[in-house]
């Protein structure tokens, strides 16, 4: 037999294969780690979630990253991940999603997609904070004690989840603002942005824009109404895409 052929079917001894169990990651190639060559033909009828199970559905991943990336990032940042590590945190969560999404069935009737995502983000967050000897920051600046096993107490757990939900609303609202700004008269938008968001003096903004104070207030209210409306629409869109009712 030619030596070339023998190489194709290596039969190293078990001592070789198992003698050094750690670290063994990377020495083996598993089928799931290989990128699949199948390119899904995205179907808009399918929910984003189903499409994400297909790792090559580029459009679905773009949507997912654009919509949920800022949510994960903001959550980490506001819950105690330092700014210079927040990028890393975001990447870790997103890569975990790619690893997990195809493996487990997710049933929208039993919990929302974002609560599933929350579990992943929470897990990564607590792990990182634990390694750094820090504790998650909860609203109001208080730090809650964790149990010896690294579990948060039940009330802290609940609060962390509330924080996540709030971040979700924030991100939807920000997305809505972007959408309104794109289709809005710049004068209208500036009136809103400078007074409501940047909290500038109304009289100064009105003067800059050359409009009456009353008009400024009317504009601000109108834009805000549109943003709220858009936020509701986006929330419905996202819910539909992730198969929620």
């Amino acid at each position: 037999m030619s030596p070339a052929l023998s190489l194709a079917m290596p039969s190293p001894s078990l001592v070789e294969r198992f003698g050094n169990l750690r670290p063994w990651v990377g020495r083996l190639v598993f089928a799931r780690d290989l990128p699949r060559s199948r390119v899904a033909i995205p179907d808009t009828r399918l929910s984003l979630l189903i499409r994400l199970r297909e790792p090559d559905d580029a459009a679905a991943w773009e949507r997912f990253v654009a919509d949920y990336g800022p949510l994960v990032y903001g959550f980490g940042l506001r819950r105690g991940v330092p700014v210079d590590e927040a990028d890393d945190f975001l990447q870790e969560v997103m890569l975990r999603v790619t690893k997990s999404i195809g493996r487990l069935d997710y049933d929208p009737s039993l919990g929302t997609f974002r609560s599933w995502l929350f579990q992943i983000a929470r897990h990564v967050l607590l792990n990182r904070l634990r390694h750094a000897g820090r504790r998650p920051v909860l609203e109001g600046g208080s730090e809650l004690m964790r149990g010896a096993e690294g579990d948060l107490g039940a009330s802290a757990e609940e609060r962390l989840r509330e924080e996540w939900e709030l971040e979700y609303r924030r991100q939807i609202f920000a997305k809505a603002a972007e959408r309104v700004e794109a289709s809005c008269d710049p004068g209208m938008w500036t009136a809103f942005w400078r007074t409501a968001v940047l909290d500038e003096e109304a009289a100064k903004v009105a003067a800059d824009l050359g409009i009456a104070l009353g008009t400024l207030y009317v504009r601000r209210s109108r834009v805000l109404a549109r943003v709220r409306e858009a936020a509701e629409m986006i929330e419905r869109e996202w819910a539909r895409e992730t198969g929620e009712r």
């Binding site: 997710y106 579990q119 609202f173």
Partner: protein, 743 residues
């Protein structure tokens, strides 16, 4: 004008309701400081969670993370950027890859990709109610009518080709033809990727698949040449592979000629790396040049990539590619066009003949030696793989196989044997057997197989079903047995120390098989036997297979005879039933090093009442398990280990995992039968899965770091082998499924 009601102002300020006579109130606001203050206050007071004020911060964050998101998409998720779509006049909108627009009656839905000549879109043809792919000449060529004409000429020529491996062209549209002035053509939508994607993702091809795909491409090329059409740009990106099937198509005929025209005479027809030397030197396309490019594709498929420089030697030898394959590649890529095959047809014929004669020679040679060593077994199995894979590829052309598929065919020739058992008994030595559907093929008992390398491939394509093999125990001693695409149903009872497939000092390979032990009606029925019984240092590999046992059965029973090594490798495989792996030693008093048992399991699902059991007579045996991305669900104890003489069972059992989901329903995750010296009995539970069990078991501080989820499984009334099982996890309920029901 009086001030409006407070509630009106609040609703208005926060954008919840606009008053009916808004313009009138604007004037009032202008004058009334009190109302303005009230509105300011309303915004601040109702800005729940700082949504409005937080917008500025959110925007800064979004800008900050854009590069991260981009790199996630490009590096980790493999999503490339979009082309300059705005130059396509027929596109109305675009979001990500989703587009709207229309060419003629086609409704564009999605941007799929772009090549040097055109961009490809997914579209719907409403008249025919089908999805198609549309290739449109790149907008850069808009001002060059000559290019569009060439592009269309070639597309029309290709549209006349008919071959199962040439991507057909449904329609061609030309500028000024009433189709919005675009040049392009319509093709079927193939649910798969290109050969280039496959090479980038999966690396080199194994020899069997290499021959199969190349034969299809070469035959497609031969058909095109016979019709007078040159491809001019054969390369992996122009070969499409069906995602879920065997389809191989050559696409994009002749486009390089148009590209050539567009770029000027001094540039290439074809693609650097694949283009023949005479083309690089300024020549035009030819049959010989197409063959050269094909040879380069063959080389890339064998090595996983093209050599980076002329000096770099192709690593064919390391890839176990035989000498004839190297010679075939060298023939096609000869620098001198005259030395290459005269036609693609000749190249295809040489490919087939070389392959078949090499396989036959190797079989004879292998039969001459006895396959006692692992290397020899490996060799035999390479051969078997070759024979199978190649035979699959031959389906379209080999009439013999079609005819013989209903019966037992040996080495590709239809046999006269009534059953597999009869064939095994009648024909000595190593065999590659293909079987069609029909239980009768397995009617006879199998002879014991000793020192033979046998491969049995069920042809699931015949009569649309997987061959069902109802058989008594199959015994293999030395040599190897490979089963592909068979549905095996053990017949009769199995004793507690026996198995359906009894493998002794041999290699067992299962692909796409299922083994089902029929369910006993009685809840208390315990039959005990194993589906796979390994002894004497055997090797067991299973891929894409399913194992089902009854309550008392187990999937694998391994005997760690002293001095032996047993290896179990499972991937993409499922198991449901009683026990997963039981380990025993036949003679713990025997001299020699204790036996070792190594298990690698990945991407699999195990649903059982107890995953691992180290029997009391398993003393001395060492078991190492590497687990990755599995679903482990055990309704009772996950690991049960009995006291061992002179050693801790904890040392005897090593378990490593990454990314699995673990669910245990019993009171204890791990049950060591005897307390180790100075330690307490593990796994005393309060009815709930204690995380510390895992942490103690794994010797880690944090078990949740080790697996993605550890959840408690609460067995309901549903039997174990029910189709779906649910788990109570901290993140809500997660579902795991075997995707298979027990009959």
């Amino acid at each position: 004008m009086d001030c409006p009601d407070r509630t009106v102002l609040q609703a208005w300020a926060t954008g919840r309701e606009v008053p009916a006579d808004e313009p009138a109130w604007a004037d009032h606001l202008d004058a009334c400081e009190i109302c303005r203050a009230a509105m300011d206050e309303a915004i601040a007071a109702t800005d729940d969670g700082g949504l409005v004020r937080g917008l500025a911060g959110c925007r800064r964050e979004h800008e900050r993370i854009l590069p991260t998101l981009r790199s996630l998409l490009e590096k980790d998720f493999g999503v490339a950027g979009m082309p300059d779509w705005k130059r396509f006049p027929f596109l109305e909108s675009i979001e990500g890859r989703i587009v709207t627009g229309r060419i003629g009656r086609l409704e564009l839905k999605e941007w799929l990709g772009a090549g040097s000549m055109g961009a490809v879109f997914r579209a719907v043809d409403p008249a025919l109610e089908r999805e198609v792919a549309v290739k449109v000449l790149r907008p850069e060529y808009e001002g060059h009518p000559g290019i569009a004409a060439l592009f269309l000429d070639e597309a029309r020529a290709a549209a006349g080709l008919r071959h199962e491996s040439i991507l057909p062209i449904y329609d061609v549209f030309a500028p000024g033809g009433g189709d919005d002035g675009v040049a392009g053509y319509v093709m079927p939508l193939v649910s798969g990727g290109t050969l280039a994607d496959r090479l980038a993702g999966g690396g080199a091809f194994d020899p069997g698949e290499w021959v199969r795909v190349l034969q299809r491409i070469t035959e497609a090329l031969a058909a095109a040449h016979a019709a007078g059409v040159l491809h001019r740009d054969v390369k992996p990106a122009n070969v499409l592979l069906e995602g879920d099937g065997p389809g191989v198509w050559l696409a994009d005929f002749g486009l390089a000629r148009a590209a050539h025209h567009g770029y000027g005479s001094d540039s290439l027809v074809g693609t650097p790396g694949y283009a023949a030397p005479e083309i690089v030197a300024g020549g035009t396309g030819s049959v010989a040049a197409d063959l050269h490019a094909l040879g380069k594709v063959a080389l890339e498929m064998a090595c996983g990539r093209l050599p980076r420089s002329a000096e770099e030697k192709p690593a064919l030898e390391e890839k176990s590619f035989p000498a004839w394959a190297s010679r075939w590649i060298a023939w096609l890529t000869d620098p001198e066009p005259g030395n290459r095959p005269a036609s693609a047809e000749e190249a295809a014929r040489a490919l087939v003949v070389s392959f078949e004669s090499a396989a036959a020679t190797a079989r004879r040679a292998a039969a001459g030696r006895r396959l006692r060593t692992g290397l020899a077994i490996g060799f035999g199995l390479i051969l078997a793989t070759w024979i199978t894979d190649a035979a699959l590829g031959w389906r379209g052309t080999n009439a013999l196989l079609r005819k013989g598929a209903e019966k037992v065919s040996i080495d590709g020739r239809p046999g006269t044997h009534a059953s597999v058992g009869a064939a095994l008994a009648a024909v000595p030595g190593d065999l590659a057997i293909r079987v069609g559907n029909g239980e009768a093929l397995f009617a006879d008992a199998w002879p014991d197989l000793t020192d033979r390398t046998i491969e049995i491939v069920g042809d699931g394509a015949v009569k649309g079903g997987t061959p069902v093999a109802k058989a008594g125990s199959i015994r293999v001693k030395g040599g190897g047995l490979k089963l592909v695409g068979l549905d095996l149903r053990p017949r009769g009872d199995l004793g507690s120390l026996s198995g359906f497939l009894e493998i002794e000092n041999a290699r067992l390979v299962l692909e796409d098989c299922s083994i089902r032990k029929p369910l006993q009606n009685s809840r208390t029925a315990v039959t005990g036997g194993a589906l796979v019984f390994l002894s004497g240092g055997s090797e067991f590999v299973a891929t894409r297979s399913r194992f089902l046992t009854d309550r008392g059965g187990k999937a694998i029973l391994a005997v760690g005879n002293p001095g032996t090594e047993t290896s179990i490798t499972l991937s993409d495989t499922g198991f449901a039933g009683g026990g997963f792996l039981h380990v025993v030693a036949t003679d713990p008093a025997a001299a020699g090093a204790p036996g070792t048992i190594g298990v690698e399991i990945a991407d699999s699902t195990v649903i059982c009442s107890g995953a691992f059991r180290l029997g009391r007579n398993g003393a001395g045996v060492k078991v190492a398990v590497r687990s990755r991305n599995n679903l482990w669900q055990s309704s009772d104890v996950f690991l049960s280990a009995k006291e061992q003489d002179g050693g801790s069972v904890r040392e005897a059992f090593v378990f490593e995992d990454e990314g699995s989901l673990l669910a245990v329903g019993g009171e204890r995750a791990v049950e060591w039968d005897a307390a180790p010296a100075g330690g307490e009995r593990q796994g005393e539970g309060d009815g709930a899965l204690a995380k510390r069990d895992w942490e103690s078991f794994l010797g880690r501080q944090d078990a949740s770091e080790w697996v993605d989820w550890i959840v408690q499984y609460r067995p309901g009334r549903a039997p174990l082998w029910n189709n779906e099982l649910s788990f109570e996890g901290r993140g809500g309920r997660l579902l795991g499924s075997m995707g298979e029901t027990f009959e």
